[in-house]
Amino acid sequence: MTTLPTSTQKKLGLVIDLDTCVGCHACVVSCKGWNTENYGAPLSDQNPYGGDPSGTFLNRVHSFEVQPDEGAAQLIHFPKSCLHCEDAPCVTVCPTGASYKRVEDGIVLVNEQDCIGCGLCAWACPYGAREMDASEKVMKKCTLCVDRIYNENLPEEDRQPACVRTCPSGARHFGDLADETSDVSILVAERGGFDLMPEQGTKPVNKYLPPRPKDTMEEFDILAPYLEPVAKDAGGFLGWLDKALDKLPGNSAGGAN
Protein backbone atom coordinates (compact mmCIF):
# COMPACT_ATOMS: atom_id res chain seq x y z
CA MET A 1 0.00 0.00 0.00
CA THR A 2 1.45 3.35 -0.93
CA THR A 3 0.00 5.25 1.97
CA LEU A 4 2.78 6.36 4.28
CA PRO A 5 3.31 4.88 7.75
CA THR A 6 2.26 7.38 10.42
CA SER A 7 5.57 6.82 12.18
CA THR A 8 8.56 4.57 11.80
CA GLN A 9 10.45 2.81 14.59
CA LYS A 10 13.77 4.08 13.29
CA LYS A 11 14.68 6.86 10.91
CA LEU A 12 17.76 5.55 9.21
CA GLY A 13 19.46 8.15 7.10
CA LEU A 14 22.57 10.06 6.19
CA VAL A 15 24.18 13.19 7.54
CA ILE A 16 26.29 14.91 4.90
CA ASP A 17 28.92 17.39 5.94
CA LEU A 18 29.29 20.15 3.37
CA ASP A 19 32.27 21.46 5.30
CA THR A 20 34.44 18.42 4.74
CA CYS A 21 33.23 17.10 1.39
CA VAL A 22 36.09 17.53 -1.06
CA GLY A 23 34.06 16.71 -4.16
CA CYS A 24 36.05 13.63 -5.13
CA HIS A 25 32.98 11.67 -6.33
CA ALA A 26 34.23 8.48 -4.65
CA CYS A 27 30.74 8.03 -3.13
CA VAL A 28 29.23 8.27 -6.61
CA VAL A 29 31.52 5.53 -7.91
CA SER A 30 31.14 3.21 -4.93
CA CYS A 31 27.37 3.67 -4.95
CA LYS A 32 27.13 2.77 -8.60
CA GLY A 33 29.56 -0.11 -8.15
CA TRP A 34 27.66 -1.69 -5.28
CA ASN A 35 24.15 -1.06 -6.52
CA THR A 36 24.68 -2.11 -10.11
CA GLU A 37 25.50 -5.65 -9.05
CA ASN A 38 23.34 -6.16 -5.96
CA TYR A 39 19.74 -5.22 -5.04
CA GLY A 40 17.42 -4.95 -8.04
CA ALA A 41 18.04 -4.14 -11.67
CA PRO A 42 21.54 -2.96 -12.66
CA LEU A 43 22.27 0.73 -13.18
CA SER A 44 22.75 0.97 -16.92
CA ASP A 45 24.80 3.41 -18.96
CA GLN A 46 23.89 4.60 -22.43
CA ASN A 47 26.63 5.33 -24.90
CA PRO A 48 29.24 5.33 -22.10
CA TYR A 49 32.27 5.72 -24.37
CA GLY A 50 30.57 7.79 -27.05
CA GLY A 51 30.01 11.46 -27.60
CA ASP A 52 26.88 11.77 -25.44
CA PRO A 53 27.25 9.49 -22.43
CA SER A 54 24.54 9.20 -19.81
CA GLY A 55 23.56 6.72 -17.16
CA THR A 56 21.62 5.96 -14.01
CA PHE A 57 23.10 7.15 -10.71
CA LEU A 58 21.56 7.01 -7.24
CA ASN A 59 23.96 9.57 -5.86
CA ARG A 60 25.36 12.61 -7.63
CA VAL A 61 27.70 15.36 -6.47
CA HIS A 62 26.93 18.91 -7.53
CA SER A 63 29.32 21.81 -7.02
CA PHE A 64 28.05 25.26 -6.13
CA GLU A 65 29.80 28.59 -5.95
CA VAL A 66 28.53 30.80 -3.15
CA GLN A 67 29.42 34.47 -3.23
CA PRO A 68 29.27 36.23 0.16
CA ASP A 69 28.63 39.99 0.26
CA GLU A 70 32.29 40.52 1.07
CA GLY A 71 35.33 38.42 0.41
CA ALA A 72 36.13 35.55 -1.88
CA ALA A 73 33.56 33.11 -3.28
CA GLN A 74 33.36 29.65 -1.69
CA LEU A 75 33.16 26.43 -3.65
CA ILE A 76 30.91 23.88 -1.98
CA HIS A 77 30.62 20.28 -3.13
CA PHE A 78 27.16 18.95 -2.62
CA PRO A 79 26.44 15.19 -2.68
CA LYS A 80 22.75 14.42 -3.20
CA SER A 81 20.87 11.14 -2.97
CA CYS A 82 17.44 10.06 -1.67
CA LEU A 83 16.66 11.83 1.61
CA HIS A 84 14.20 9.10 2.75
CA CYS A 85 11.60 11.75 3.61
CA GLU A 86 9.13 11.18 6.42
CA ASP A 87 6.41 12.66 4.25
CA ALA A 88 7.64 11.20 0.99
CA PRO A 89 5.53 12.50 -1.93
CA CYS A 90 7.06 9.90 -4.24
CA VAL A 91 5.41 7.07 -2.29
CA THR A 92 1.83 8.34 -2.23
CA VAL A 93 1.67 9.11 -5.97
CA CYS A 94 2.64 5.55 -6.98
CA PRO A 95 -0.36 3.91 -8.67
CA THR A 96 0.81 0.31 -8.25
CA GLY A 97 2.14 0.17 -4.71
CA ALA A 98 5.68 -0.43 -5.98
CA SER A 99 7.00 2.50 -3.93
CA TYR A 100 6.85 2.12 -0.19
CA LYS A 101 8.34 3.40 3.04
CA ARG A 102 9.36 0.75 5.54
CA VAL A 103 7.74 0.93 8.96
CA GLU A 104 10.72 -0.63 10.72
CA ASP A 105 13.46 1.76 9.61
CA GLY A 106 11.89 4.39 7.34
CA ILE A 107 13.84 3.43 4.23
CA VAL A 108 12.00 4.31 0.99
CA LEU A 109 12.23 1.49 -1.52
CA VAL A 110 10.86 0.44 -4.92
CA ASN A 111 9.56 -3.05 -5.54
CA GLU A 112 10.79 -3.31 -9.12
CA GLN A 113 8.48 -6.23 -9.97
CA ASP A 114 5.48 -3.92 -9.47
CA CYS A 115 6.91 -0.78 -11.10
CA ILE A 116 5.20 0.11 -14.39
CA GLY A 117 7.76 2.80 -15.18
CA CYS A 118 5.24 5.66 -15.32
CA GLY A 119 7.77 8.09 -13.82
CA LEU A 120 5.26 9.94 -11.64
CA CYS A 121 7.29 9.33 -8.45
CA ALA A 122 10.29 11.05 -10.04
CA TRP A 123 8.02 13.98 -10.92
CA ALA A 124 6.88 14.17 -7.29
CA CYS A 125 10.42 14.23 -5.84
CA PRO A 126 11.82 17.76 -5.47
CA TYR A 127 15.38 16.49 -5.03
CA GLY A 128 15.85 14.49 -8.22
CA ALA A 129 16.53 11.39 -6.14
CA ARG A 130 14.75 8.99 -8.46
CA GLU A 131 15.93 8.07 -11.93
CA MET A 132 14.26 5.84 -14.47
CA ASP A 133 16.71 3.31 -15.80
CA ALA A 134 16.73 3.70 -19.57
CA SER A 135 17.49 0.02 -20.11
CA GLU A 136 15.39 -1.74 -17.45
CA LYS A 137 12.54 0.83 -17.63
CA VAL A 138 11.98 0.75 -13.87
CA MET A 139 12.53 3.46 -11.28
CA LYS A 140 15.83 3.33 -9.43
CA LYS A 141 16.66 5.07 -6.19
CA CYS A 142 18.98 4.95 -3.18
CA THR A 143 18.18 1.95 -0.98
CA LEU A 144 20.43 3.20 1.83
CA CYS A 145 22.29 0.00 0.88
CA VAL A 146 19.62 -2.08 2.58
CA ASP A 147 21.56 -5.13 1.39
CA ARG A 148 24.69 -4.03 3.27
CA ILE A 149 23.48 -2.50 6.52
CA TYR A 150 21.74 -5.69 7.75
CA ASN A 151 24.08 -8.12 5.94
CA GLU A 152 25.68 -10.45 8.47
CA ASN A 153 27.90 -11.95 5.78
CA LEU A 154 29.83 -8.70 5.73
CA PRO A 155 32.35 -7.71 8.40
CA GLU A 156 30.72 -5.33 10.86
CA GLU A 157 32.60 -2.25 9.66
CA ASP A 158 31.17 -2.79 6.19
CA ARG A 159 27.56 -2.81 7.37
CA GLN A 160 26.91 0.75 6.31
CA PRO A 161 26.00 2.33 2.97
CA ALA A 162 28.72 2.06 0.33
CA CYS A 163 28.96 5.85 0.00
CA VAL A 164 29.58 6.28 3.74
CA ARG A 165 32.10 3.41 3.88
CA THR A 166 34.10 4.81 1.00
CA CYS A 167 34.14 8.54 1.78
CA PRO A 168 37.82 9.45 2.27
CA SER A 169 37.11 12.73 4.05
CA GLY A 170 34.51 11.50 6.52
CA ALA A 171 31.86 13.76 5.05
CA ARG A 172 29.11 11.15 5.14
CA HIS A 173 27.62 9.66 8.29
CA PHE A 174 25.00 6.94 8.66
CA GLY A 175 22.71 6.26 11.60
CA ASP A 176 19.32 6.44 13.25
CA LEU A 177 18.06 10.00 13.31
CA ALA A 178 15.04 9.05 15.44
CA ASP A 179 17.40 8.22 18.32
CA GLU A 180 18.43 11.51 19.92
CA THR A 181 21.49 9.91 21.49
CA SER A 182 22.89 8.51 18.24
CA ASP A 183 26.12 9.91 16.84
CA VAL A 184 24.34 11.33 13.82
CA SER A 185 21.67 13.07 15.91
CA ILE A 186 24.34 14.64 18.14
CA LEU A 187 26.24 15.75 15.04
CA VAL A 188 23.10 17.37 13.62
CA ALA A 189 22.37 19.12 16.92
CA GLU A 190 25.94 20.38 17.39
CA ARG A 191 26.53 21.54 13.85
CA GLY A 192 23.10 22.91 13.03
CA GLY A 193 22.09 20.30 10.45
CA PHE A 194 19.39 21.47 8.08
CA ASP A 195 16.77 20.18 5.61
CA LEU A 196 16.87 20.73 1.86
CA MET A 197 13.86 22.64 0.49
CA PRO A 198 11.93 22.68 3.78
CA GLU A 199 9.16 24.63 2.01
CA GLN A 200 8.26 21.49 0.07
CA GLY A 201 7.03 19.90 3.30
CA THR A 202 8.70 16.55 2.69
CA LYS A 203 10.39 16.35 6.11
CA PRO A 204 13.60 14.74 4.86
CA VAL A 205 15.39 12.37 7.23
CA ASN A 206 18.81 13.05 5.71
CA LYS A 207 20.41 16.20 7.08
CA TYR A 208 23.11 18.48 5.71
CA LEU A 209 25.75 20.15 7.88
CA PRO A 210 26.60 23.70 6.79
CA PRO A 211 30.13 24.72 5.86
CA ARG A 212 31.89 26.16 8.92
CA PRO A 213 32.42 29.94 8.78
CA LYS A 214 35.68 30.85 7.11
CA ASP A 215 38.17 32.46 9.50
CA THR A 216 39.76 35.70 8.39
CA MET A 217 43.48 36.36 8.51
CA GLU A 218 44.47 39.47 10.45
CA GLU A 219 47.09 41.79 8.96
CA PHE A 220 50.29 40.68 10.58
CA ASP A 221 53.74 39.82 9.34
CA ILE A 222 56.25 38.71 11.94
CA LEU A 223 58.85 37.95 9.32
CA ALA A 224 58.76 41.39 7.79
CA PRO A 225 61.81 42.77 9.61
CA TYR A 226 63.88 39.90 8.27
CA LEU A 227 62.62 40.23 4.75
CA GLU A 228 63.70 43.74 3.91
CA PRO A 229 63.92 44.23 0.18
CA VAL A 230 67.23 44.64 -1.59
CA ALA A 231 69.50 46.98 0.32
CA LYS A 232 69.38 50.49 -1.07
CA ASP A 233 73.10 51.23 -0.77
CA ALA A 234 74.74 47.89 -1.03
CA GLY A 235 78.47 47.76 -0.56
CA GLY A 236 81.09 45.09 -1.12
CA PHE A 237 80.91 42.50 -3.89
CA LEU A 238 77.11 42.70 -4.35
CA GLY A 239 77.31 46.49 -4.55
CA TRP A 240 79.98 46.29 -7.21
CA LEU A 241 77.98 43.66 -9.12
CA ASP A 242 74.83 45.81 -8.97
CA LYS A 243 76.63 48.81 -10.39
CA ALA A 244 78.43 46.74 -13.02
CA LEU A 245 75.19 45.18 -14.23
CA ASP A 246 73.52 48.61 -14.33
CA LYS A 247 76.21 49.79 -16.70
CA LEU A 248 75.52 47.07 -19.22
CA PRO A 249 73.21 48.09 -22.06
CA GLY A 250 69.56 47.14 -21.64
CA ASN A 251 66.96 47.64 -18.96
CA SER A 252 67.50 45.42 -15.93
CA ALA A 253 64.43 46.62 -14.05
CA GLY A 254 61.74 45.91 -16.60
CA GLY A 255 62.28 42.31 -17.58
CA ALA A 256 62.54 41.45 -21.26
CA ASN A 257 63.13 44.22 -23.74
Binding site: T96, I116, Y127, P211
Partner: protein, 290 residues
Protein backbone atom coordinates in the same frame (compact mmCIF):
# COMPACT_ATOMS: atom_id res chain seq x y z
CA UNK B 1 8.94 19.49 -17.98
CA UNK B 2 9.60 17.41 -21.05
CA UNK B 3 6.54 17.71 -23.30
CA UNK B 4 6.11 14.02 -24.16
CA UNK B 5 3.87 13.69 -27.26
CA UNK B 6 2.18 10.60 -25.80
CA UNK B 7 1.00 12.48 -22.70
CA UNK B 8 -0.04 15.60 -24.64
CA UNK B 9 -2.12 13.51 -27.05
CA UNK B 10 -3.54 11.42 -24.20
CA UNK B 11 -4.68 14.31 -22.03
CA UNK B 12 -6.08 16.27 -24.99
CA UNK B 13 -7.88 13.44 -26.78
CA UNK B 14 -9.23 11.66 -23.73
CA UNK B 15 -10.30 15.03 -22.30
CA UNK B 16 -12.34 15.62 -25.47
CA UNK B 17 -13.69 12.07 -25.44
CA UNK B 18 -14.83 12.20 -21.82
CA UNK B 19 -16.27 15.68 -22.42
CA UNK B 20 -18.36 14.27 -25.29
CA UNK B 21 -19.38 11.28 -23.13
CA UNK B 22 -20.58 13.73 -20.46
CA UNK B 23 -22.95 15.41 -22.89
CA UNK B 24 -24.08 12.08 -24.37
CA UNK B 25 -24.82 10.77 -20.88
CA UNK B 26 -27.00 13.81 -20.23
CA UNK B 27 -28.93 13.12 -23.42
CA UNK B 28 -27.45 15.98 -25.43
CA UNK B 29 -27.93 15.14 -28.24
CA UNK B 30 -30.55 12.52 -27.46
CA UNK B 31 -30.24 10.83 -30.83
CA UNK B 32 -30.71 7.07 -31.10
CA UNK B 33 -29.86 4.34 -33.57
CA UNK B 34 -27.12 4.94 -36.11
CA UNK B 35 -26.60 8.62 -35.26
CA UNK B 36 -26.07 7.70 -31.63
CA UNK B 37 -23.70 4.94 -32.76
CA UNK B 38 -21.56 7.52 -34.62
CA UNK B 39 -21.46 9.84 -31.60
CA UNK B 40 -20.52 7.04 -29.20
CA UNK B 41 -17.89 5.69 -31.60
CA UNK B 42 -16.21 9.12 -31.81
CA UNK B 43 -16.31 9.48 -28.00
CA UNK B 44 -14.84 6.01 -27.43
CA UNK B 45 -12.17 6.42 -30.11
CA UNK B 46 -11.03 9.64 -28.41
CA UNK B 47 -11.27 8.42 -24.81
CA UNK B 48 -9.86 4.91 -25.34
CA UNK B 49 -7.38 6.12 -27.95
CA UNK B 50 -6.12 8.66 -25.43
CA UNK B 51 -5.77 6.00 -22.75
CA UNK B 52 -3.83 3.81 -25.19
CA UNK B 53 -1.47 6.68 -25.99
CA UNK B 54 -0.85 7.09 -22.27
CA UNK B 55 0.47 3.53 -22.04
CA UNK B 56 3.17 4.40 -24.60
CA UNK B 57 5.12 6.32 -22.00
CA UNK B 58 5.06 3.46 -19.51
CA UNK B 59 8.25 1.48 -19.08
CA UNK B 60 6.29 -1.71 -18.39
CA UNK B 61 2.78 -1.43 -19.91
CA UNK B 62 2.30 -5.19 -19.35
CA UNK B 63 1.99 -4.47 -15.63
CA UNK B 64 -0.58 -1.68 -16.14
CA UNK B 65 -3.34 -3.62 -14.35
CA UNK B 66 -1.46 -3.15 -11.07
CA UNK B 67 -2.15 0.59 -11.40
CA UNK B 68 -5.76 0.06 -10.28
CA UNK B 69 -4.71 -0.99 -6.78
CA UNK B 70 -3.68 2.22 -5.00
CA UNK B 71 -6.80 4.38 -5.23
CA UNK B 72 -6.51 5.27 -1.57
CA UNK B 73 -3.45 7.46 -2.10
CA UNK B 74 -2.68 7.84 -5.81
CA UNK B 75 -4.49 10.15 -8.23
CA UNK B 76 -3.06 8.18 -11.15
CA UNK B 77 -4.67 5.03 -9.79
CA UNK B 78 -7.97 6.88 -9.22
CA UNK B 79 -7.83 8.13 -12.80
CA UNK B 80 -7.51 4.58 -14.11
CA UNK B 81 -10.45 3.37 -12.03
CA UNK B 82 -12.65 6.34 -12.95
CA UNK B 83 -11.83 5.97 -16.63
CA UNK B 84 -12.72 2.28 -16.72
CA UNK B 85 -15.88 2.84 -14.67
CA UNK B 86 -16.99 5.70 -16.92
CA UNK B 87 -16.34 3.69 -20.07
CA UNK B 88 -18.22 0.63 -18.77
CA UNK B 89 -21.26 2.59 -17.52
CA UNK B 90 -21.42 4.69 -20.68
CA UNK B 91 -21.16 1.52 -22.80
CA UNK B 92 -24.29 0.14 -21.09
CA UNK B 93 -26.04 3.46 -21.62
CA UNK B 94 -24.84 3.61 -25.23
CA UNK B 95 -26.20 0.12 -25.96
CA UNK B 96 -29.61 1.33 -24.79
CA UNK B 97 -29.44 4.37 -27.03
CA UNK B 98 -28.07 2.63 -30.12
CA UNK B 99 -29.93 -0.68 -30.11
CA UNK B 100 -33.08 -0.12 -28.05
CA UNK B 101 -33.72 3.61 -28.64
CA UNK B 102 -33.93 3.93 -24.85
CA UNK B 103 -32.66 6.82 -22.75
CA UNK B 104 -31.77 5.24 -19.43
CA UNK B 105 -31.42 8.55 -17.64
CA UNK B 106 -30.01 7.28 -14.36
CA UNK B 107 -27.25 5.24 -16.02
CA UNK B 108 -26.48 8.10 -18.38
CA UNK B 109 -26.30 10.56 -15.47
CA UNK B 110 -23.93 8.30 -13.53
CA UNK B 111 -21.84 7.86 -16.68
CA UNK B 112 -21.69 11.63 -17.18
CA UNK B 113 -20.54 12.18 -13.59
CA UNK B 114 -17.90 9.44 -13.90
CA UNK B 115 -16.68 10.95 -17.18
CA UNK B 116 -16.24 14.35 -15.55
CA UNK B 117 -14.59 12.72 -12.53
CA UNK B 118 -12.09 11.07 -14.87
CA UNK B 119 -11.05 14.47 -16.24
CA UNK B 120 -10.84 15.80 -12.69
CA UNK B 121 -8.58 12.92 -11.59
CA UNK B 122 -6.35 13.53 -14.63
CA UNK B 123 -6.01 17.17 -13.65
CA UNK B 124 -5.22 16.24 -10.04
CA UNK B 125 -2.25 14.13 -11.17
CA UNK B 126 -0.66 17.44 -12.15
CA UNK B 127 -2.25 19.75 -9.60
CA UNK B 128 -1.05 17.60 -6.67
CA UNK B 129 2.63 18.02 -7.57
CA UNK B 130 4.20 20.60 -5.27
CA UNK B 131 7.42 20.11 -7.19
CA UNK B 132 5.93 21.86 -10.24
CA UNK B 133 4.58 25.16 -8.85
CA UNK B 134 2.94 26.12 -12.15
CA UNK B 135 0.72 23.02 -11.88
CA UNK B 136 0.22 23.07 -8.12
CA UNK B 137 -2.50 25.71 -8.07
CA UNK B 138 -6.30 26.01 -7.87
CA UNK B 139 -6.80 26.78 -11.58
CA UNK B 140 -5.27 23.58 -12.96
CA UNK B 141 -8.37 21.44 -12.39
CA UNK B 142 -10.85 24.10 -13.62
CA UNK B 143 -8.73 24.50 -16.75
CA UNK B 144 -8.78 20.78 -17.57
CA UNK B 145 -12.49 20.47 -16.80
CA UNK B 146 -13.44 23.61 -18.76
CA UNK B 147 -11.46 22.53 -21.83
CA UNK B 148 -12.95 19.04 -21.68
CA UNK B 149 -16.54 20.28 -21.33
CA UNK B 150 -16.08 22.89 -24.05
CA UNK B 151 -14.60 20.35 -26.46
CA UNK B 152 -17.36 17.91 -25.54
CA UNK B 153 -20.07 20.48 -26.21
CA UNK B 154 -18.46 21.32 -29.54
CA UNK B 155 -18.30 17.66 -30.60
CA UNK B 156 -21.83 17.04 -29.35
CA UNK B 157 -23.05 19.95 -31.45
CA UNK B 158 -24.53 21.79 -28.47
CA UNK B 159 -24.03 25.22 -30.00
CA UNK B 160 -26.04 27.04 -27.32
CA UNK B 161 -23.52 25.81 -24.72
CA UNK B 162 -20.41 26.05 -26.86
CA UNK B 163 -20.36 29.82 -27.25
CA UNK B 164 -20.48 30.73 -23.53
CA UNK B 165 -18.19 27.76 -22.74
CA UNK B 166 -15.58 28.92 -25.28
CA UNK B 167 -15.55 32.36 -23.67
CA UNK B 168 -15.38 30.90 -20.17
CA UNK B 169 -12.54 28.50 -21.04
CA UNK B 170 -10.60 31.25 -22.77
CA UNK B 171 -10.82 33.36 -19.60
CA UNK B 172 -9.69 30.44 -17.40
CA UNK B 173 -6.89 29.69 -19.86
CA UNK B 174 -5.56 33.25 -19.79
CA UNK B 175 -5.90 33.44 -16.00
CA UNK B 176 -4.02 30.14 -15.70
CA UNK B 177 -1.15 31.54 -17.76
CA UNK B 178 -1.01 34.84 -15.91
CA UNK B 179 -1.15 33.22 -12.46
CA UNK B 180 1.21 30.46 -13.54
CA UNK B 181 3.95 32.90 -14.49
CA UNK B 182 4.51 33.92 -10.87
CA UNK B 183 3.99 30.53 -9.24
CA UNK B 184 7.65 29.47 -9.11
CA UNK B 185 8.63 32.72 -7.41
CA UNK B 186 5.73 32.38 -4.97
CA UNK B 187 6.61 28.76 -4.12
CA UNK B 188 9.62 29.94 -2.13
CA UNK B 189 11.89 27.34 -3.71
CA UNK B 190 15.15 28.91 -4.78
CA UNK B 191 18.72 27.76 -5.25
CA UNK B 192 19.28 29.02 -1.71
CA UNK B 193 16.49 26.88 -0.20
CA UNK B 194 17.50 23.92 -2.37
CA UNK B 195 21.07 23.99 -1.13
CA UNK B 196 20.59 25.55 2.30
CA UNK B 197 23.59 27.77 1.55
CA UNK B 198 21.76 31.08 1.29
CA UNK B 199 23.07 32.28 4.66
CA UNK B 200 26.55 32.50 3.15
CA UNK B 201 25.61 34.38 0.01
CA UNK B 202 24.30 34.11 -3.51
CA UNK B 203 24.38 30.52 -4.79
CA UNK B 204 25.45 29.73 -8.35
CA UNK B 205 25.72 26.33 -10.03
CA UNK B 206 29.44 25.85 -10.59
CA UNK B 207 29.64 22.34 -11.98
CA UNK B 208 26.90 19.79 -12.70
CA UNK B 209 27.42 16.27 -11.30
CA UNK B 210 28.43 14.87 -14.67
CA UNK B 211 29.61 16.35 -17.93
CA UNK B 212 26.84 14.60 -19.86
CA UNK B 213 23.09 14.85 -19.56
CA UNK B 214 20.91 12.55 -17.46
CA UNK B 215 17.32 11.37 -16.94
CA UNK B 216 16.52 14.27 -14.60
CA UNK B 217 17.71 16.89 -17.04
CA UNK B 218 15.91 15.29 -19.98
CA UNK B 219 12.66 14.85 -18.04
CA UNK B 220 12.47 18.00 -15.95
CA UNK B 221 14.58 20.72 -17.50
CA UNK B 222 12.95 21.65 -20.78
CA UNK B 223 13.90 25.18 -21.78
CA UNK B 224 13.50 25.04 -25.55
CA UNK B 225 9.87 26.12 -25.73
CA UNK B 226 10.19 29.15 -23.48
CA UNK B 227 11.50 31.39 -26.22
CA UNK B 228 8.30 31.29 -28.24
CA UNK B 229 5.91 30.95 -25.33
CA UNK B 230 4.08 34.22 -25.90
CA UNK B 231 3.62 33.54 -29.61
CA UNK B 232 2.37 30.03 -28.89
CA UNK B 233 -0.08 31.37 -26.31
CA UNK B 234 -1.50 33.72 -28.92
CA UNK B 235 -1.74 30.85 -31.42
CA UNK B 236 -3.49 28.65 -28.84
CA UNK B 237 -6.01 31.41 -28.05
CA UNK B 238 -6.77 32.13 -31.70
CA UNK B 239 -7.01 28.48 -32.78
CA UNK B 240 -8.60 27.13 -29.64
CA UNK B 241 -11.18 29.80 -28.88
CA UNK B 242 -11.38 32.78 -31.28
CA UNK B 243 -11.66 30.90 -34.60
CA UNK B 244 -14.20 28.31 -33.35
CA UNK B 245 -16.27 31.19 -31.99
CA UNK B 246 -16.23 32.94 -35.36
CA UNK B 247 -17.08 29.73 -37.23
CA UNK B 248 -20.03 29.09 -34.94
CA UNK B 249 -21.35 32.61 -35.24
CA UNK B 250 -21.39 32.28 -39.03
CA UNK B 251 -24.60 30.96 -40.57
CA UNK B 252 -24.72 27.31 -39.48
CA UNK B 253 -23.13 24.79 -41.78
CA UNK B 254 -21.64 21.40 -41.02
CA UNK B 255 -18.44 22.38 -42.76
CA UNK B 256 -18.00 25.34 -40.41
CA UNK B 257 -18.70 23.12 -37.41
CA UNK B 258 -15.98 20.76 -38.66
CA UNK B 259 -13.55 23.67 -39.04
CA UNK B 260 -14.43 24.78 -35.53
CA UNK B 261 -13.66 21.31 -34.13
CA UNK B 262 -10.31 21.02 -35.92
CA UNK B 263 -9.23 24.54 -34.93
CA UNK B 264 -10.25 23.92 -31.33
CA UNK B 265 -8.34 20.62 -31.09
CA UNK B 266 -5.23 22.20 -32.64
CA UNK B 267 -5.48 25.09 -30.17
CA UNK B 268 -5.87 22.78 -27.19
CA UNK B 269 -2.90 20.68 -28.33
CA UNK B 270 -0.84 23.89 -28.45
CA UNK B 271 -2.06 24.91 -25.00
CA UNK B 272 -1.31 21.42 -23.63
CA UNK B 273 2.18 21.50 -25.14
CA UNK B 274 2.79 24.79 -23.33
CA UNK B 275 1.32 23.28 -20.14
CA UNK B 276 4.25 20.86 -20.08
CA UNK B 277 6.99 22.83 -21.82
CA UNK B 278 6.58 25.88 -19.58
CA UNK B 279 6.23 23.96 -16.31
CA UNK B 280 9.32 24.37 -14.14
CA UNK B 281 10.24 21.46 -11.88
CA UNK B 282 12.12 22.59 -8.78
CA UNK B 283 14.86 19.99 -9.29
CA UNK B 284 16.13 22.33 -12.03
CA UNK B 285 17.33 24.60 -9.21
CA UNK B 286 20.10 22.12 -8.41
CA UNK B 287 21.25 22.47 -11.99
CA UNK B 288 21.01 26.26 -11.99
CA UNK B 289 18.47 26.04 -14.79
CA UNK B 290 15.62 28.11 -13.42
Amino acid sequence: MHPAPSIILFTTLSGLGFGLLTFLGLGMPGSTGFTAFVFFTIAYLLAVGGLLFSTFHLGHPERALKAFSQWRSSWLSREGICAVAALVVMAIYGIGRVFFAQHWGLIGGIGAILSLLTVFTTSMIYAQLKTVPRWHMPLTSPLFMALSITGGALLAGQVQFVIPLLILSAIIQVAYWVMGDSRLAESGSTMESATGLGHIGKVKAFEPPHTGTNYLMREFIHVVGRKHAMKLRAIALVLGFALPLIFLLLPFGHIFALFAVFCHVAGILTSRWLFFAQAEHVVGLYYGKR
